[in-house]
């Protein structure tokens, strides 16, 4: 039976090591764990924070769909995906993906696959807040993110 992914959408920060321990506990078949953390960049010192908006319900549903695809495709032992929302200051965590597999290639590919799909199809939107305290614009979707996703077809 396929493992059930751990999916969370939350305002609070996450603890990478605690999540790795939780995922790998009691699963001695795991030989590789790959973690990816996405952080809020300060854009050369000009950005104060990002405001992350999400579609409650659909965000979890879409992340679960993506995680289940990855588990099946790369035969993962486990997958955790956590995405934060709300105001996230420069330097703070936004997203965490952990993929566990018997061997490293599947774990690397699984984490990569989940991030590529998460960026283009999980319903989250970023708005920039500049150093001067004023709200700037919504971050625009990037064509290279679509290209990254499409390479898995």
């Amino acid at each position: 039976m396929s493992p059930t992914p751990t999916i969370r959408v939350q305002r609070e920060d996450f603890d990478l090591q605690a999540e790795v321990d939780l995922l790998s506990k009691g699963k001695p078949g795991i030989g590789a764990v790959v973690t990816f953390s996405g952080l809020c960049r300060d854009e050369g010192g000009t950005l104060d924070a990002l405001e992350l908006e999400h579609y409650p319900g659909m965000a979890e549903a879409e992340m679960t769909r993506i995680a289940e695809m990855a588990i099946k495709r790369f035969e993962l032992n486990g997958l955790t995906a956590i995405h934060r929302y709300g105001r996230i200051a420069a330097g703070d965590n936004i997203v965490l993906v952990i993929a566990a597999a018997p061997h490293r290639q599947a774990a690397f590919d699984g984490a990569n696959f989940v991030m590529d799909f998460l960026k283009t199809s999980a319903p989250f939107w970023k708005k920039e807040h500049g150093k001067d305290g004023v709200a700037r614009e919504w971050v625009e979707a990037k064509g290279h993110d679509d290209a990254a996703r499409d390479k898995w077809k």
Partner: protein, 84 residues
């Protein structure tokens, strides 16, 4: 009544996060829905003026614009996603 939910700059331009509206019988597909919304006022017209960049979810699942709305109860309308 159908519940419409808007996000990010679609929400800001329309000026509300959600609303319940009665869809006329002529609205069959997502494209029909977007065309109908544009007749509701200038704010809708501004928000939806470039339909190519508008994403739509029926009952929390992504669909293409030629998809029939069917008996969807909740329709999400939003710009391309920028999470991760």
């Amino acid at each position: 009544m159908t519940k419409l939910i808007y996000f990010a700059w679609v929400r800001e331009r329309i000026g509300k996060a959600e609303e319940d509206i009665a869809l006329p019988a002529s609205v069959v597909t997502v494209t029909d829905l977007l065309d109908h919304l544009k007749t509701l006022g200038e704010e809708y017209e501004t928000a939806l003026q470039f339909p190519d960049v508008i994403r739509v979810a029926l009952d929390q699942e992504h669909v293409e614009h030629d998809e029939p709305i069917g008996d969807a109860r909740e329709i999400g309308i939003f710009p391309p996603m920028t999470g991760g």
